[in-house]
């Protein structure tokens, strides 16, 4: 299941819009009040969603955007031949390799950085600009700047819903902005004056991720009495595993 990837930050390449959105969001956000009861406070801190009222409003907006824009696009994309979809997916995965290399180095993991470099060189040249995944996906280790900050700071931060983009943690949101500034589409746009390139690539990438997870998303909307909470929980579980690796949280669940 690739549901989690829908909620992971990717390179949309529209950092300026996002900075604006993030600042506006933080400025106008309504906060949920923290409970006084110590046990309920522990739960409140675990969920870590102090902007819940604002986040819920943005989630409702995103639900409409998904239904009106993303869903029809994803269904149209799904009707393309599988070979085409695989090639497009490979292309975007390859485009993100420089981000993986930089962040693996920042996280003190030269081995993964080396592997990503090898993948990028091979797939960009022999793999026809990344359309063919020559190296396979065995050693693929996606990294982002949000993960780097979270590893260095020891936490993923509060939950955020961003208009058009969906679920993020604060560190993932900051990482998304920084990664976007140094993404290949952004650099190309700066060089050639193709200002819409990052946005177009971003929409494409978002559509692919949405399309991969369409059935799972529909299922949550159909069965959950509170889709906002369900999506937030899935995002948070996936994000913590992505940042801290393995089954850190799940192994430490105090069930007794």
């Amino acid at each position: 299941m690739r549901l989690g990837t829908f909620f992971l930050p990717t390179q949309f390449g529209i950092p300026c819009i996002n900075v604006l959105l993030l600042c506006t969001l933080l400025a106008v956000s309504a906060c949920a009040s923290a409970p006084y009861d110590p046990l309920e406070r522990v739960e409140y801190e675990r969920i870590n969603d102090p902007l819940e009222p604002t986040n819920r409003a943005i989630f409702s907006f995103n639900t409409v955007i998904q239904a009106v824009i993303m869903r029809p696009l994803a269904i149209a994309y799904d009707s393309l031949p599988e070979g085409v979809r695989t090639a497009v997916g490979n292309f975007f995965t390859n485009l993100a390799e420089p981000r993986n290399i930089a962040n693996a180095l920042l996280q003190g993991d030269p081995k993964t950085a080396g592997t990503s470099l090898g993948r990028f060189v091979t797939n960009s040249s022999v793999g026809l600009g990344g359309l063919i995944n020559i190296t396979g996906s065995e050693n693929h280790g996606p990294r982002d700047f949000g993960q780097t900050i979270a590893l260095w700071s020891g936490g993923t931060g509060a939950h955020l819903e961003l208009p058009f983009l969906g679920s993020f943690s604060v560190t993932a949101g900051i990482g998304f902005l920084v990664d976007g500034l140094y993404s290949i589409p952004k650099i190309q746009a700066n060089r050639g004056g193709h200002n819409n390139l990052p946005l177009l690539i971003g929409i494409n990438r978002g559509m692919i991720i949405y399309s991969d997870n369409l059935a799972a998303i529909d299922e949550i909307y159909r069965t959950s009495p509170d889709p906002y909470t369900s999506f937030r929980n899935i995002y948070q579980q996936r994000r913590r595993q992505f940042v801290f690796g393995g089954s850190y949280d799940l192994d430490n669940l105090e069930i007794d």
Partner: protein
Amino acid sequence: MRSILFALALLFCTPFAAFANTQETAAKDFVLELFERFREIYAPNNPDAEQQLLRYYDDNFDHQRIARFIFGSYIRRASQQQFERFSELLPKFVFGQISPQIEKYFSAENSATSIKITAVRPLKKQHVIVHTRYTGPQETEIRVRLRPNADVLKILDVQIAGISMLLAQRDLIGSMIKQNNGDLNAFLDQLKDEAETSGKANA
């Protein structure tokens, strides 16, 4: 002296190692049996699927612990009667939520694909996690967390693609209670409605 110490160490450690091995084997067998049961339950045209699922839950899940964990800190506010009603409604509600996901891996159309046990890991308090890999259209890891209860293994949690069902349900239940302004009776009424609605939707 060294050989005496070695012999003593061997004497003390062997039963523990044997116990660990027995527990691992029992956990593997348990999960294989669980998957077999799921295949039977999700077989096409099984009119009794929901009832069989609930019976399996009753017999093989650690329902008291699961209910307490999912109710979270609200358990302190609940009367014994409210907790019993919650425990009674919970399985139907949870399966309404997760049944479509489980069905995806065990339904007849995916029966050709297989699920293999890849690892068994002991955790603290004699909990065991059994890792399995589903090699269907989208390769997925399914983990089952078990705990011995009166010498019998019981399921505590099922984690699909790294998502703990227990944690997901705890957040959802907490949010439903909050939306009912902490009124547990109103929440239990909503839970009953939701359990019935999702049961019908999945039928």
